[in-house]
């Protein structure tokens, strides 16, 4: 047994201390969203959960998450019953803050357990331990959960649990069930469902030696258990004829291509190019859509219109996502081992993040977290991982814009990057394949640029322009991060297909 210090538990204790100290930190409207859901689930019958709309933050997560909120609300009733009033909009007494923030910390125990299981089942305990610590201490989770306010620690805990369960043939069924439960907690994980589908199909429902022989017993077990989970989640609502209403809450298609702040994906680069072309177009004789140029809210509010480049429809984004996912899944189908599975999950995350419709910057964790489990496999993986973590975490910075939280997000992220990139660098074994040396130079140069970028966005811009051109730092951040995420995607594709 190698020295596994500091242990997961030790890190969890110290991280918890920091998280408790963050109680009075800035919290986004998501705090009120979850307070409202606590109130809805506590004071209304299940039948009315998805109909209630006093607050603008209506319940728009799947039923299991609503039950989860209901369970929390039982505890809330003992601690601060006033927060459970649907009419108490924006209620945030200190008891409310303490309660809600503590539930985030407490439910993160699922993540710790999942990571513990991951380390225990890994062939290289030392490397797995390091990767597990990197996830546990992830700046993404700290920024999104413990400052901005969400329950990702818990949800990613369930997610990692299902990934770990997929490792052994004996527990593959449970992996599938856990994943379906996860889907009924938060439907964003649907993006990763194709990888699960292919893996479960090939590794569980079809015979190991032949694609043509179906394992009927396994298929029946898997099918019935998945159906049972879905039935438990959605059955009651089907019974009350509320399915269309529920689905319209879960999938609001009326939103625009890019979220308020562009997530660092292909469309951010597309929008950036369009922005640049507005100035270049008249010189090279392309017509510019003036109405789009003058819309003040451009790039800042959901509905993005393009001035020069053609508009992008939802269908196009889905098509692109599906195509890029399918290509990776073909390999998984023919080589259904755990590493390829994790690679495919990561690539599904990449594809949906890069090409998806109305992607949030927070969704980058869908890529970073599964990738972390693979990053230490060898140095080529690490090469693709590095720009991803820099870009991914820098792109989260605009989530927190208050002065008091600035040192926390930057210092914590730099701390994490230095500690874990150096640790990974020492631990990752050399690869048996040749490396593309250009990628290394690219990623080093890329990481270096992050420093002046952060300095500009957080300091120089305000001094130079004041409140004017507020979109500029945001645009730079997302375009910069988009380059990193795309670059690491390409790098990872090469590694995935060549190994």
């Amino acid at each position: 047994m190698p020295d596994l210090y500091p242990s997961l538990l030790q890190c969890a204790v110290v991280a918890t201390a920091l998280k408790v100290l963050l109680f009075p930190a800035y919290k986004s409207t998501d705090f009120e969203v979850h307070r409202n859901w606590l109130a809805i689930t506590h004071s209304l019958p299940v039948k009315e959960w998805y109909l209630e709309n006093t607050s603008e933050w209506t319940l728009d997560y799947p039923p299991f998450f609503a039950y989860f909120e209901w369970a929390l609300s039982q505890a809330a009733a003992l601690f601060e019953p006033r927060l459970l009033n649907i009419k108490a909009l924006d209620f945030d007494s200190w008891q409310t803050v303490y309660f809600q923030r503590s539930t985030v910390i407490a439910t993160e125990l699922v993540l710790i357990y999942a990571l513990h299981l991951y380390v225990k089942t890994s062939p290289s305990t030392k490397n797995a331990h390091c990767a597990a610590l990197s996830i546990l201490l992830s700046p993404g989770l700290l920024i999104i959960d413990h400052i901005h306010f969400q329950y990702n620690g818990f949800l990613y805990g369930v997610f990692i649990l299902s990934l770990v369960l997929a490792r052994k043939q004996a527990t593959v069924l449970w992996s599938g069930v856990t994943f379906v439960i996860l889907l009924c907690l938060k439907h964003i994980y649907l993006y990763l469902a194709p990888a699960y589908f292919v893996y479960l199909l090939r590794a569980y429902c079809l015979a190991p030696d032949s694609v043509w022989r179906i394992e009927f017993r396994n298929s029946l077990k898997l099918g019935s258990s998945i159906a049972a989970v879905f039935l438990a989640a959605f059955g009651p609502f089907v019974h009350w004829d509320q399915l269309p209403q529920l689905l319209s809450r879960l999938f609001p298609f009326s939103r625009g291509l890019c979220h308020a702040y562009w997530a660092p994906n292909i469309w951010a680069m597309y929008s950036f190019t369009d922005r640049v072309l507005i100035y270049l177009a008249p010189r090279i004789g392309i017509s510019v859509d003036q109405s789009a140029v003058h819309s003040v809210t451009r790039g800042l509010v959901g509905d993005t219109a393009f001035a020069v480049l053609p508009d992008v429809s939802a269908k196009v984004t889905f098509f692109l996502t599906l195509v890029t996912q399918t290509v990776c899944l073909i390999k998984l189908f023919f080589k259904p081992n755990w590493n390829t599975f994790i690679g495919a999950v990561t690539l599904c995350g990449y594809a949906s993040f890069l090409f998806g419709w109305h992607v949030h910057e927070k969704a980058i964790l869908l890529v970073i977290i599964p990738f972390s489990l693979l990053a230490l496999k060898d140095r080529r993986y690490l090469g693709a991982f590095r720009p991803l973590v820099v870009a991914g975490h820098v792109s989260l910075f605009p989530l927190l814009f208050t002065a008091a939280e600035f040192p926390i997000k930057t210092v914590y992220t730099i701390f994490w990057l230095v500690a874990f990139l150096l640790a990974f660098d020492r631990l990752a074994p050399a690869s048996s394949h040749a490396r593309v040396f250009l990628l290394d130079r690219f990623s080093l140069a890329y990481i270096t640029i992050a420093i002046p970028l952060i300095v500009y966005c957080s300091l120089i811009h305000k001094v130079a322009f004041g409140e004017k051109y507020e979109f500029l730092p945001l645009m730079f951040t997302s375009s910069y991060s988009a380059v990193g995420v795309t670059g690491s995607w390409l790098g990872f594709l090469v590694v995935y297909f060549s190994s």
């Binding site: 210090y5 500091p6 701390f415």
Partner: protein, 592 residues
Amino acid sequence: MASQQSHKPRRRKRVEDGASTHSNHGAIISTSRSKNPEPAFPLVAFLWPTKGTVSQWVVLPLILMAVGLFRWTTGLWGYSGFQTPPMHGDFEAQRHWMELTIHLPLSQWYFHELEWWGLDYPPLTAYHSWILGKIGNFINPNWFALHTSRGIDDPTLKVFMRATVFVSEYLTYTPAVIIFLRRYTRLQSVNTWEASIALVAILMQPGTILIDHGHFQYNTVMLGFMVASMSSVLAGRPWWGAAFFVASLGFKQMALFYAPAVFSYLLGICIFPRINVVRFLVIGFTTVLSFAVLFAPLLLGAVYDSYRGIPYQSLIQPPLLQGLSFPLNEKSLYYPILLQLTQTIHRIFPFARGLFEDKVANFWCALHTFHKLHHYSGALVQRAALLATLTAILPPCVIFFFKPHKELIPLAFSACSWGFFLFSYQVHEKNVLLPLLPMTLLLGGEGGLLPSTRAWVGFANLLGVWTMFPLLKRDQLTVPYYVISLLWAYLLGLPPVSLSAYHEGLEGGLNLATKILHVNFYLVMGVWHVMEALVSPPTNKPDLWVVGNVLVGAAGFSICYLWCLWTLSIKSGVIAGIWTQRDERKVKLKEK
């Protein structure tokens, strides 16, 4: 052949002595269960991956970032006097000094409206406030507008003020502690890795974080100069030690707690082993020069202001000046200088105030509970305090004077400042930071991480922060209090989180009596917290819990004083007989 050489693989540089040094100062234990060495307490586990080959250029920034995060997040919570009119608190005092120093001529600083947080710290604080005020005024003039900004609680001002504490600390205290530890650990032949562990433990000291970054003060600047002074002495530059000590004293008069120790050491090295007149003169000269530099801006400013015609005749004469037997010519050139100097001293040393402020866990306040001291005249009490203080500080100072050895510095400083804290006049509960600092520095010494030292340092620190709980609770810092102190206790493997330092059969373990003593104190502290939280005191004794806190605290601190004095006597060889006896016993034990 040349081509072969060019293919030589890059060699990883071996970093200093890291794990290659075999001496163990308490970070590692080998249990009988497994042959593998294990971290002795959780903090060691966190630095485990850096053992051996990781460069200090990586470890140090990581440590500074990590401890910085805990400081900054503590700062998100309340501060002294937040939304508590009429007088607010220390936050307002510091802000007000920035306000008055940037708006008023130098000669008025120590005279300006004394009833509203008049400046009563030495000149270096005033200059420091002036610089910070200038910067703050550049960012937002409303924060420091004259008169109108009183009691302001703008959240961005809070961020600015927190940042000033943070930056001031990282420019003084942090580098001083790092350099001190580098020298001290080398002197005590402790390896770099264990020095890093001690560094984290010292920088995470709960009291310092909670008072400076929670309650709001700039103690770390004063403490930083003090550590710099010790560090210079360690490096064999006592004159710099004197200069830094003056800076410390010039920032906050509370550094006087250390003065007797500094004085005995500096005098001691001029006499032992042989009389060194040159050294004496150099030290004396730098001390005088430092004081001159410290007061020069203030006095020159006063002269300049009188030259400009800013009236000073209207300023009330300080008692020191009134008490002079001969008349002064108010028109003369020296008058503004004299006026300024006497006023500063009058403001800095408030003899007019009481024996102790609020409730503080020292001898006088404890005595006061049983025997009311306000029956006695002020002069008598002052004299009694002086006598008691002298008695308490005499033994450590005498030892230090006759044995001015570098390795005794932390012990002598802590014994001396404990004596001061327990018996002197006008002590605040926050002043416990002064004796705690040198005592905590012991962690970087020989065997400093062994239970024999760690448990005592931990005991003093946890007791210290516990006596400040009533103050921190008023500042809405209850949650950070629990988090920061329990975290420190956890990291160092101490009660109430862990009893690992009190196990049987450890290398450098404690004796049974000490264990019983410590555990009982921890129990009392725990029970006190439960009582204080759940049971309200009887109506005729509303201060019952606070008084209980003071009594327990005073008793514990007296024990800490005695421990420091005892250890100092042993380490200095004054109690040589006992020392050798113990050694013999140890040898016998080993033979068994």
